[in-house]
Symmetry: C2
Subunit: 221 residues, 2 copies
DNA sequence: ACTTCGGTTATGGCA
DNA sequence: TGCCATAGCCGAAGT
């Protein structure tokens, strides 16, 4: 990647419009064609464009103009002065390994329905990504009495998670007529407003302890 | 900011856990204490931490270990070799100016209820951020006949926007008893699924032309 | 190509 | 400070 320190001004046009007045910035141009213009605060660039944009350069009235063009977006940088310009070579084949994602939590919950429904539950089986007319629900458990017990899993549950549950209930009630149906919200963290809304709508929610995996190892012993 | 090209490996612990095997990366440390570890793809760092984390450095068994510590998060970088290490000074006082945001659209719609309700509307007045028990709704218009006509504004409306409308209707109906109430979804783009859900729930929606501001200038003339 | 959804979302605004 | 909603969200997976 190429990293440039420059006195510059930036205009962006595309999904919105932005202008950035003249000043010193760090410009990062990566090999995949993505570009970011950084100030001294935070990880997000002030301006940016995704992979695959085309970089052109020309001189107009004594200043250099860089243009970055994708189909529907456009950045123009007026370069008044370049202070520094370095090249850094970087490995891009090695992938980051994630652990403790929502995906992991889902898989774990599938094997631990007692976390959701209590030790005396009557769940026979369960599956992931059960299809409903409102989209796939994270987990679906099947109980001895024939009832369907859906579960929406989140790391952090906010208001929209409750809305999702409502949509699934709506869909299941109209499609699985005659069957007993409920949907439970399960998360590591449920915000106060979210808990309130869930209660209002009679949607049960369960908070999973942060150390769910450690708890697992203990219970195995 | 300081930018380092280094052969390194990274572990992150906090909201989740990640590991990144040894390889060449670009490490950006900003003055506000944020840090990002970049590969050659995209604008997002592979690993990162927000402003205010504390940087310590020590040597262990011949390799250098950098630690970045905030209250609840933690990054450890094992530095095998530093290829390059540059300092770039950057202006951080100049703000990015945005235009055409949802905020601008809201302000414009407040002055143009006909866009939402048609030329023969009976709106007397309107205000922004009208408080409901489900949070503030973007716009509230007051009609001649005393009815309340809420508007949720989005640039791009997805399913969650419909859910928001439902929440506001829920809240308004229970708190403004006796008054006629409706909520309209207004956006530059309403996705097909979103339109379907809105129709199902009898929530009207309006698509504003992309050139709404230009249209304004024309109609003024 | 487009849509949908998770994310260590980040970031700003407001209570 | 904590909580909520937006974002030019990004990026990935499925269709």
């Amino acid at each position: 990647m190429r990293i440039i320190s420059a006195d510059c001004e930036v205009t962006y046009t595309g999904r919105g419009n932005t202008t950035l007045a003249r000043g010193d910035r760090a410009i990062i141009i990566k090999n995949d064609g993505s570009i970011g213009i950084h100030n001294e605060v935070g990880n997000k660039p002030m301006n940016y464009m995704g992979k695959g944009c085309v970089h052109t350069e020309e001189e107009e009235d004594g200043v250099i103009v860089w243009r970055f063009d994708s189909k529907k977006e456009y950045i123009e940088i007026i370069i008044h002065e370049i202070h520094d310009d370095v090249q850094m070579d970087v490995d891009n084949s090695i992938k980051l390994v994630r652990d403790g994602t929502e995906n992991d939590l889902q898989a774990w919950l599938l094997d631990h329905p007692e976390t959701i429904f209590g030790e005396d539950h009557n769940i026979i089986s369960g599956e992931r990504e059960y299809q409903t007319s409102a989209g796939p629900i994270d987990l679906m458990f099947f109980a001895e009495d024939g009832s369907l017990r859906g579960v929406e899993v989140k790391r952090v549950a906010m208001l929209t998670a409750v809305d999702q549950c409502s949509r699934y209930i709506e869909a299941l009630k109209s499609n699985e007529k005659g069957l007993e149906v409920d949907v439970t919200l399960v998360a590591l963290d449920v915000r106060p407003n979210t808990a309130r809304l869930a209660s209002q709508r009679k949607i049960p929610f369960v908070i999973v302890p942060e150390d769910w995996r450690e708890g697992e190892e203990c219970s195995v012993e």
